[in-house]
């Protein structure tokens, strides 16, 4: 079925990750700039060919994978133009020579994850109202009970003692009122002073207007919070004057102001300016709208799923949403409707007038070069304060990157990322740091430890047995002499143009990279997903490190989006290069430098499945010898199942 192609043998010392079928020429970067540009161009064209084969199936993902510029262009409303060029390239590659990929049920059923939250079937999107109450973590989510695509949205519900072992509960809320007849959409929970819970959520009314509604547990003594009551006076907020009826959604958790009122923010837009509206309330039933906004950024489009919370400048624990003071910075985060990217910025909150000012306006919320929680597939994220363990925890919706036909055939679509703790990076002060919750370590089974030196141009099979459910923690060191090569040689230009997306993927070799792991690989590496570091000479001759995931060769299938994801990662003096990778069938989550840069990818191999899934370590650098120290754990399933009395 899949076409067989001549492949370079695995032990080849020449560019081990390249394949004869592809047009890629292993390009070196330690050459004159013209050749570098050629490499970049051929890499770009290749990425474009792969990615645009399906006309950017998932708009922003592919845009990010292809070129960063595309997303800026879209925001500048040149979408028509960029789409046109994509179409031309797409038709070229749709020349009938590539074989279409018929997914069979064996391949599709392998894709289901073992320890990520996903419902038993059908479509899921945004996380809703996460909270901890009476010994249980609660998770609600946007769910379609009828199909594996978005629609007919209700609130699904699940509980867990440890954020990992989830138990499915009955639906929490369905569209049974006029004010949410067309959808029970995203919302957030707030704990009142007496410990009771209020939930604010967006309803799409019978006339398709987006309004905010109040709900609360029907029985607060029920630790499972099975039933929810909708406030009889709903909706509590309707779109204000000047705001579109369909541009008003996703209310946040409320925080206490110094005057003792509760305050929430709701994302919206005015023309192309993304904004965050501000409301005060004492009872969650009536609200005063502020004249001023919490914040706004031009040319960013609609702000969905706004999140606003404090982080400590000095401590590693999370903070309750109401905390303020000199030891604290505030994060404003929004999901950009236009590009499907979650952006955040760090700044200062002024409670007296309800404004927030970013520390660095050039990377304000929604700016394409600004900060993201995750440089891969990650959207509609939401944090909550876990008062149980004093952490701030981040949930993120991870959609599919395959075709809807495949989703319909396999019967489901979307997973949630592993919940992450979020804190300010006290060492850089300029970014957040995220890490999978420690409870995930309870899934670790047997492990194997490795320590090896890997010369340039080497691929090493790592024998860990089954390789579809793994937790990998690794540390890399580049030999000192090799570092000096790149510093010393004047002919090595500062590589200011490098980015994961236009760097050509993992087969483009530089002096000091790429090196890392190929996960979800088959024996011959005809399918594999490299997760790697790429070290370049940056401005002022300092080293600049990038962390990338290359999905362009992750599968033979051609109806799947296969971008190269990633970003720069700060590496401070004296730090070794560290990465952690969670592999769980069709999802790969990579964390560099303790979570300074994170990348989530969706991967759909056709051959590297079941017993054929392998793990490799590779060093595709030209000059550098790498020492890798790492541990690989087999991961157990979380056995997510419907709640029953036995689970108490």
């Amino acid at each position: 079925m899949a076409s067989t192609e001549a492949l370079l043998p695995v032990t080849s010392r020449q560019d081990p990750l390249s394949e004869s079928r592809s047009d890629q020429i292993p390009e070196t970067r330690r050459k004159r700039p013209i050749k570098v540009h050629l490499a970049v161009c051929s890499g770009l064209l290749l990425i474009a060919l792969y990615v645009t084969l399906i006309v950017t199936h998932d708009g922003s993902t592919a845009q990010n994978g292809a070129k960063d510029e595309t997303s800026t262009e879209s925001r500048a409303r040149l979408a028509g133009v960029s789409e046109k060029s994509n179409d031309r390239v797409w038709r070229l590659s749709g020349d009938g020579k590539t074989e279409a990929f018929p997914w069979n049920n064996t391949m599709l059923s392998w894709q289901r994850t073992a320890f990520h939250f996903q419902p038993e079937k059908n479509w899921m999107n945004d996380p809703n109202g996460p909270l901890f109450y009476k010994g249980w973590y609660h998770f609600f989510y946007q769910y379609n009970p009828n199909a594996a695509v978005w629609g007919d949205i209700v609130w699904g519900h699940a509980v867990s003692k440890d954020l990992i072992h989830w138990l499915y509960l009955p639906l929490a809320m369905v569209p049974d009122k006029w004010y949410d007849a067309n959808g029970v959409w995203t919302g957030s929970a707030t704990f009142l002073d007496d410990g009771s819970i209020v939930m604010l959520y967006t309803g799409s009314t019978d006339k398709f207007v987006q309004v905010q509604n109040l709900a609360y547990p029907e029985d607060p003594s029920d630790p499972l919070l099975l039933k929810w009551t909708k406030f009889s006076g709903n909706p509590v907020l309707v779109p204000p004057p000047g705001i579109g009826a369909k541009d008003f959604r996703d209310p946040t958790t409320a925080w206490k102001t110094s005057s003792g009122k509760w305050r929430i923010t709701i994302g919206s837009k005015v023309n192309r300016t993304g904004i965050s509206l501000l409301y005060d309330t004492t009872d969650f039933k009536t609200y005063e709208k502020h004249e001023t906004l919490l914040h706004q950024v031009p040319n960013t489009g609609m702000w969905e799923c706004v999140d606003f919370y404090p982080v400590s400048k000095t401590k590693v624990n999370g903070l309750d949403t109401s905390v303020k003071g000199p030891d604290v910075k505030h994060i404003v985060k929004a999901s950009m409707d236009d590009t499907r990217i979650d952006h955040y910025a760090i700044g200062t909150y002024y409670d007296s007038n309800g404004t927030w000012v970013p520390d660095n306006p050039s990377i304000d919320v929604g700016i394409s070069t600004g900060l993201r929680y995750d440089y891969g597939k990650f959207y509609a994220s939401k944090t909550f304060y876990d008062q149980n363990k004093k952490r701030r925890i981040l949930w993120g919706w991870i959609g599919e990157s395959d075709s809807e036909a495949a989703d319909v055939q396999k019967g489901w679509s979307s997973v949630q990322g592993i919940p992450r703790t979020v804190v300010l990076d006290t060492k850089t002060g300029k970014n957040l740091v995220q890490w999978p919750v420690e409870e995930i370590e309870s899934l670790r089974l047997s492990n194997k430890k490795f320590h090896m030196k890997v010369g340039p141009g080497t691929v090493v099979p790592i024998d860990v047995g089954s390789a579809a459910q793994l937790d990998i923690e690794a540390e890399f060191k580049i030999k000192k002499e090799d570092l000096e090569i790149i510093f010393g040689e004047d002919s090595v230009e500062a590589d200011e143009e490098f980015s994961c997306q236009n760097g050509g993927g993992s087969t483009v070799r530089g002096a000091l990279g790429p090196f890392g792991f190929s996960v979800l690989a088959d024996q011959s590496l005809s399918e594999h997903t490299p997760v790697y570091f790429y070290v370049t000479k940056g401005k002022d001759s300092k080293l600049k490190t990038f962390f990338c995931t290359d999905t362009s060769r992750s599968t033979m299938a051609n109806d799947v989006v296969k971008p190269v994801y990633g970003s720069f990662v700060p590496v401070l003096k004296g730090e070794k290069l560290t990465m952690r990778i969670l592999v769980d069938h069709s999802i790969v989550e990579g964390f560099a430098q303790g979570g300074r840069t994170c990348i989530t990818s969706r991967v759909y191999p056709t051959k590297a499945i079941y017993g054929a899934t392998k793990l490799f370590l590779f060093n595709n650098a030209i000059d550098a010898t790498i020492t890798a120290s790492f541990k690989v754990w087999q991961m157990n399933s979380a056995f997510i199942h419907p709640y029953s009395a036995d689970d108490l």
Partner: protein
Amino acid sequence: MKMIVMVMMMMMMSEGSMIDQTCKQTPDFNLCVSLLNSDPRGSSADISGLALILIDKIKVLATKTLNEINGLYKKRPELKQALDQCSRRYKTILNADVPEAIEAISKGVPKFGEDGVIDAGVEASVCEEGFQGKSPLTSLTKSMQNISSVTRAVVRMLL
């Protein structure tokens, strides 16, 4: 009488310009204009309305293509495998992509509409490639790809 004709002409011109303005921002102006003008709702629709008209065209084309596929089983039995794949893909367009896009545009969450519309183009392409250069459906596939990219451009204006 002349006044009425003039007013009517002015009305037609100004209503045409909404379609004109919208279609200028798509990859295929002529296709866009002809699709929208062929629907009576086109002259008075806002951008959401125009998007819904185009999604309807996708639905109609998918139905037509499915009928063509069904007819081909008898005429070209040697193509059964590829036809099966195409049947699955076009059923996805009809049963998943189109309803998703209609619901999303109507309710003001256009990004899911964009997903559905893009996917329609993907499914058509995958179907076509199954014939490895000898497709009996090429002109229908190309239509779907074109309408999908025009519709997507219109949906993006809502984001």
